[in-house]
């Protein structure tokens, strides 16, 4: 096995770095690999190329080919061998190149990754992280802009999270890797390299827990709940609403399974109105689940039904049309209007 590795990326004297989501993920992966030499990264083109989004950039150079594996081109193989490596004591971090290509690996995820721990009454742990760049808005061809996270949230035995900003990206990836459960880690690909989202990451801080949602902005007129790339849309909507004199509360779910809805319940009890936002199609999705649970928990607090702003129940359209498919500031505000006028 490789000897402990000293990263070539020096931690700067200050523990604060100004990072994009992409760079924060890269640094988080690096830290996790330094901390535990059982952590290995595997996937298509994650080595020399550093992944098509460069999230694994430089890792193979520094940690070697046995810890950063350019695998054969087959997703079931990636996940299925990761399971075996996990049984052997490794902590594999698998990269799926685009969310649209997770489906060949679906069987291993639902039949093995999700069930081994249960099947063995806890005797076999499956500490695998499956990183999935997801979502649209990048002007891509088919299969490169989807949001399949709801499927995994329906499968018991998996944990599912999504980050929306560099600080979370840095911490959540490390927390996911050190978690003993399998974690599907959904990354908002169109924000990877967003300069606007660059943020100071205090690497010496104590992070929030992984499986907790977070109120990002306080408000009282209505509550917006989102995750991943839609968080920014909601924050922008809240800013715009403020100019019109409406204060909207914004909650970043962060954990999609298990859902941490306590902060949402608490918020809805105050605002009486909830809009859930996601790029995924609506039917049998996370937004359905949130609506179902909130209408039950906050039955007497709701002054309007929970409204959903989502991708439509169509396949992802050709990307020249994606602006129509993707929830945007206007559709969110329109839903707020509807909720307030109910």
């Amino acid at each position: 096995m490789a000897a402990p590795v000293k990263s070539t990326v020096d931690t700067p004297t200050s523990s604060v770095q100004n990072l994009t989501i992409g760079k924060a993920l890269n640094l988080g992966l690096r830290r996790a690999m330094e901390a535990d030499d059982k952590v290995i990264v595997m996937g298509e083109d994650v080595g020399k190329l550093g992944g098509v989004f460069r999230i694994t950039d430089g890792l193979q150079k520094d940690f070697g080919e046995h810890r950063v594996l350019d695998t054969p081109l087959a997703e079931s193989g990636i996940i299925g061998t990761a399971v075996g490596l996990a049984v052997r004591g490794y902590r594999p971090v698998c990269e799926i190149q685009f969310e649209g290509f997770i489906f060949p690996g679906f069987d291993q995820i639902s039949s093995q990754v999700a069930k081994l721990h249960y099947r063995t009454q806890g005797k076999v742990k499956v500490p695998i992280v499956i990183r999935v760049p997801f979502g649209g808005g990048i002007g891509a061809v088919e299969h490169h802009s989807e949001s399949p996270e709801s499927l995994f949230s329906h499968i018991a035995g998996l944990k599912v999270v999504s980050c929306s900003n560099p600080v979370d990206a840095y911490w959540m990836i490390q927390q996911a890797i050190s978690a003993d459960d399998p974690v599907l880690f959904f990354e908002p690909k169109r924000l990877y390299h967003s300069g606007a989202l660059k943020a100071p990451v205090e690497t010496a801080a104590t992070p929030d827990p992984l499986f907790a949602s977070r109120v990002l902005r306080r408000g009282d007129a209505a509550t917006l709940v989102a995750y991943g790339p839609s968080v920014k849309v909601c924050l922008d909507a809240a800013t715009a609403a403020e100019e019109e004199g409406r204060s909207l509360e914004v909650i970043d779910l962060r954990t999609l399974s298990p859902l941490d809805l306590e902060p949402v319940f608490e918020s809805v009890r105050r605002t009486g109105r909830l809009i859930t936002v996601s790029e995924a199609s609506a039917e049998s999705s996370l937004t359905s689940e949130i609506a179902a649970r909130v209408q039950q928990e906050c039955f007497y607090s709701l002054e309007a039904p929970v409204l959903r702003v989502t991708g439509f129940d169509t396949p992802y359209p050709p990307s020249k049309l994606e602006e129509h498919f993707l929830p945007d500031l206007d559709r969110v505000l329109h839903a707020v209007d509807r909720a307030l006028d109910w």
Binding site: G77, G84, Q112, K123, L259
Partner: protein, 405 residues
Amino acid sequence: MPSPEQWTRPEPGAGPAATAAEPTPEQVIAGLRATTEGGAELTQLLTPEGERVSSAMFDPYVADIDAEALRGLYRDMVLVRRADREANAMQRQGQLGIWVPLLGQEAAQVGSGRALKPRDMAFPSYREHGVAYTRGVDFRELLGIFRCTDHGGWDFQQHRFHPYTIVIGNQVLNAAGYAMGQKFDGKVGGADADETAEATICYFGDGATSQGDVHEGFVWAAVYDAPLVFFCQNNQWAISEPTERQSRLPLYQRARGYGFPGIRVDGNDVLGCLAVTRWALEECRHGNGPVLIEAFTYRMDAHTTTDDPTRYRLSDELEVWKHKDPIERVRVHLARTGSADQEFFDEVQAEADRFAAELRDYCFNMPEPPPERVFANVYAEPSPVLEAQREEYLSYLAGFGAGEH
């Protein structure tokens, strides 16, 4: 029909090589023959008549199998068969939800299982009760799956015997990953490989070879030089489908396309299976893996206790295979060579009966799992949503007991 070697480079010719729209009769016959006989390439050390055939290549791998050791293998097979039959009977009596019989495959399982060193790892499918036994898994620990009280209960690390895998093919990739881990851990090759190196064996059926996962397992193991023995028990049937529904060629030849060795062994010959598997494991431990073994055998019973094989196969077939019984040939050999007398055989039978009685006793007294078990061990680190569901259900149950309805 050209041989497969020729197929990789067609012979010169002025036009299309043949004109048949249907598979050629040769093709069909070759396919059929391949599934009813072992073919010329079958490795065999002990014939159905109990005669020891010598093999320059494989004899060294069973040089240590003296009369006592062979009696041991005989005993293993008799015990395993007896337990299998007992479990089958218990299913008929409603004590098990289902049973997956291994009848006829005792040699393939005991031979390959006994080839493993304690530090080697095994990934079974769902029929490998004989392998489980060789790994020290108590037969009783298998019963939970079939009595439907658990999904698998033994200690996987201690026995180095992975949980049963029901989704066909999945375990082949899992095994490939595990074997990669052995390699990454430096447990392959080296000067003292015979003492320290590890290998993995993975079991699957003839039908499984069609699954994408099995292919990907071949690709991965080949590309990463994983110390992995693919052990395919070709028992001629995937439920109702004969092997020619899965392949034109004998299955061991599948390895050709990946660049690692493939070999066919008489799966009803416990010595042959032991030798070939030992050889394959050594190849793997020394860094020459992976290796594919096709153990040519026969599923003597139904696919499972829910299956009715009379709907799809002739009893003639069964009769033919009875003559190739894996246990009988060892008995004949032991007797003929004076390595065992009737007393021994009687003793083993008596032991097997005790073994079965204990199994039965255990089974009849297995406790029902408590309702909390539904919610237990879904995660290593608890999920509040699930905890709430559990609390709600358990208190509902309690209230219910208290006569709420």
